[in-house]
Amino acid sequence: MSDKVMRGRVHVAAIVLGVGVPAGLTMGTLRTGADYEVVATPKQVVEGLEKALAEKGQDAVLDGFVAPDVVTHRSVMREGAASFAEAARADAERTQDLPARSLSANASLVMVQSAMAGAEAAGAPVVQIYRVRGGRIVEYWSAQPAQ
């Protein structure tokens, strides 16, 4: 067997081992549990919340998007998932069907900029901020013109 053929075979074996060993080690040491829980990113959580609100309504908000002790800052500060669900539904209705909208995320904070719907304050800016930890919304701020 020529040296070139031998080197080629050794190279192929090295590639197979090179991919196989780390792949095997990775799959064999994958961990589960709360410390290594796979969670959605903050942006994905807020997008999921908005989709659930639009498709299923207010009750869907309580279905895995918010922490039980979520704090909602609107005209007054309230604590609890039910208060957040009510606020999120009301805000979604006031800003729906408007094309001017942007969403950005920075670590645990997600900011949604949009504009008011409705006849009186249509187009007025609305800012909503969500703080997300561990795949759940834990705090919510909503700034918009009074109606």
Binding site: A23, T26, T29
Partner: protein
């Protein structure tokens, strides 16, 4: 096969040196192929989902990975991992692949050292040691870069690249 006593003095001295060189080459190749396979597997996992991308073993790491994913930077990092992994495995442009891998390895190790658990810290140590081992194996290729006074820049390198091409 001639015995050692029948060999010329120079040949007898070369044999252990050659065996030692092969041993070093085997060590450096082991690091290169393990690291290349590891980068390729984890890079491809971003798109092929062999396993679910872990979100990190601490809140800080989760926040950082979330921002990388949402900003699209994670796609770039994983594409570089795949490219570097392939180059290391096919044994082409290896010094370049090692240099490109270094910043990613440093970030991974830094995250594991500062925000990870014990498993993450061990992973960080291994990854940085592998990258250093590979770089030492090709250190002679980097030596021209390690000059105190590089003198004036020019287009000589560009001309040489077009004249001689890539080797």
């Amino acid at each position: 096969m001639p015995s050692t006593s029948e060999m010329p003095a120079g040949a007898a001295a070369e044999r252990p040196a050659g065996a030692r060189a092969r041993g070093w080459a085997a060590l450096f190749y082991a690091a290169q192929f393990f690291f290349g396979g590891w980068f390729l597997f984890h890079g491809l996992n971003h798109w092929l989902q062999f396993f679910v991308q872990p979100s990190g073993s601490g809140q800080g790491m989760r926040d950082l990975i979330s921002v990388l994913i949402d900003s699209g930077m994670f796609d770039v990092v994983k594409a570089i991992e795949v490219a570097a992994g392939v180059l290391l495995l096919v044994n082409r442009f290896v010094p370049l692949a090692i240099a490109v891998s270094f910043p990613i390895t440093i970030v991974i190790s830094f995250m594991n050292f500062t925000m990870g658990d014990n498993f993450g810290i061990v992973t960080g140590i291994i990854s940085i040691l592998l990258n250093i081992t590979m770089a030492v194996g090709y250190l002679d290729r980097y030596l021209p870069m390690l000059v105190y006074d590089a003198e004036d820049p020019g287009i000589g390198g560009l001309q040489r690249l077009f004249r001689e091409g890539l080797k």
